[in-house]
């Protein structure tokens, strides 16, 4: 059997490798890093735009907290930041204590559970805060 157009580039391997916790964390750390950078760029531009307004009322800011689209975006962004932060701590932990490297899979799952707990708790307070603003 003959086949042509075979992709021998590492990209194909990275798809398989994503099933491994270390590689998944490595790829996601970069993606979330770029996402944070883009968000902060947008955030700074938005702040500059607001600064040129003569007066800023609570009504101007309300869409950022009560709109469904911004709420979903904030939720996604929260997950991105928590994952990036928690994974960063995991890498630092391995740097400081090299002997922990043999338990890297277990440590990965512990930190991922911590990330999920962090996201759930912060989301709870975010929704609580939003409902307070909406009712005021």
């Amino acid at each position: 059997m003959l086949m042509t157009d075979i992709d021998m580039s590492p990209k194909r391997y990275s798809k398989t490798a994503l099933k491994e916790p270390g590689m998944f964390a490595w790829v996601m750390h970069r993606i979330t890093g770029i996402a944070i950078l883009l968000f902060f760029g947008w955030h700074v531009i938005d702040l500059v735009r607001l600064a040129y307004q003569k007066t800023i009322t609570i009504a101007d800011l309300q869409p950022f907290f009560t709109g469904y689209v911004t709420m979903i975006l904030n939720g996604i962004f929260l997950g991105v930041i928590v994952f990036h932060g928690i994974n960063g701590f995991r890498v630092i932990l391995h740097d400081i204590f090299p002997s922990l490297n043999k338990y890297y899979k277990q440590i990965f799952w512990i930190f991922m559970i911590l990330a999920i707990i962090g996201i759930v708790v912060t989301l709870y307070y975010m929704i609580l805060f939003t409902s307070v603003i909406a009712s005021s």
Binding site: L2, M8, Y13, S14, M23, H94, N101
Partner: protein
């Protein structure tokens, strides 16, 4: 002896003849205890003499037969066919390296990086009358890294090495660790500028692909982190 027909889908590419790489399938009657290398040698000797593969010792010592099997890197001589699952076994050369022919890749970038870390014992003090002694405890510190056979599975599985051939790679750094943490070695200063410089240990981002790939079960990331720690603190962590 239990016999079974198995299919092997092998990567074929001869840069002098083929415009593109392709796969060719072979059916081999395998038996209990047969290794992947046995099957490839069988194909090469009896079915397709044009198939090229690099091997030597057939007992996981020389590190010549590293290859990709079903997208994970293994030593062909050490891999029992019974441990491999799937109807068709996909055999490819080590990823991200230039293919010389079929399963044979150009290991020059890998070996060049290895040379940079000076993978030999460096001493500056005069030779003792008899020998440089090493305690059992000191030997245990470098125990796992001594097993490295430089097959290249770790380095070629590293996503950082895929994009930057200037990165030393796990194999070279593990070899450096083996000598830096050798109680008899005095070459810290000689290796520091390479390990702490561009393409050195800081390029490791803990993807752990090297640990997964190592056929000798060496924790290469541990070795890299120990070298990082040595560079940072300037002393061996021998606890």
């Amino acid at each position: 002896m239990k016999k079974k027909m198995r299919k092997f889908k092998i990567y074929r590419y001869d840069p002098e003849k083929d415009s593109k790489p392709y796969y060719r399938e072979y059916s081999v009657e395998t038996h209990e205890g047969m290794t992947l290398l046995d099957a490839i040698i069988h194909i090469s000797e009896n079915m397709d003499p044009s198939l090229s593969v690099r091997y030597s010792c057939r007992m996981s010592v020389c590190g010549s037969c590293g290859m990709s099997v079903n997208d994970s890197l293994k030593l062909a001589c050490k891999t029992q066919l019974e441990t491999l699952h799937g109807d068709v076994l996909k055999i490819e050369p080590l990823p991200s390296m230039k293919v010389i022919k079929d399963l044979v890749v150009d290991m020059e970038p890998f070996l060049d990086n290895l040379k940079k870390v000076k993978p030999y014992l460096i001493t500056h003090t005069p030779d003792p009358a008899k020998e440089r002694l090493q305690s059992v405890y000191d030997r245990e510190l470098i125990d796992s890294s001594v097993d490295c056979i430089l097959c290249g599975c770790c380095t070629t599985s590293c996503p950082v090495f895929w994009t930057d051939k200037g990165y030393l790679g796990p194999a070279a750094i593990t070899k450096a660790f083996r000598f830096l943490y050798d109680s008899r070695d005095e070459g810290y200063e000689d290796r520091l500028h390479v390990l702490g410089g561009v393409g050195g240990v800081d390029k490791c981002h803990h993807a752990y692909r090297c640990v997964e790939a190592c056929p000798k079960n060496i924790n290469t990331t541990y070795a890299i982190d120990m070298v990082k720690k040595l560079i940072l603190t300037g002393k061996r962590d021998t606890e």
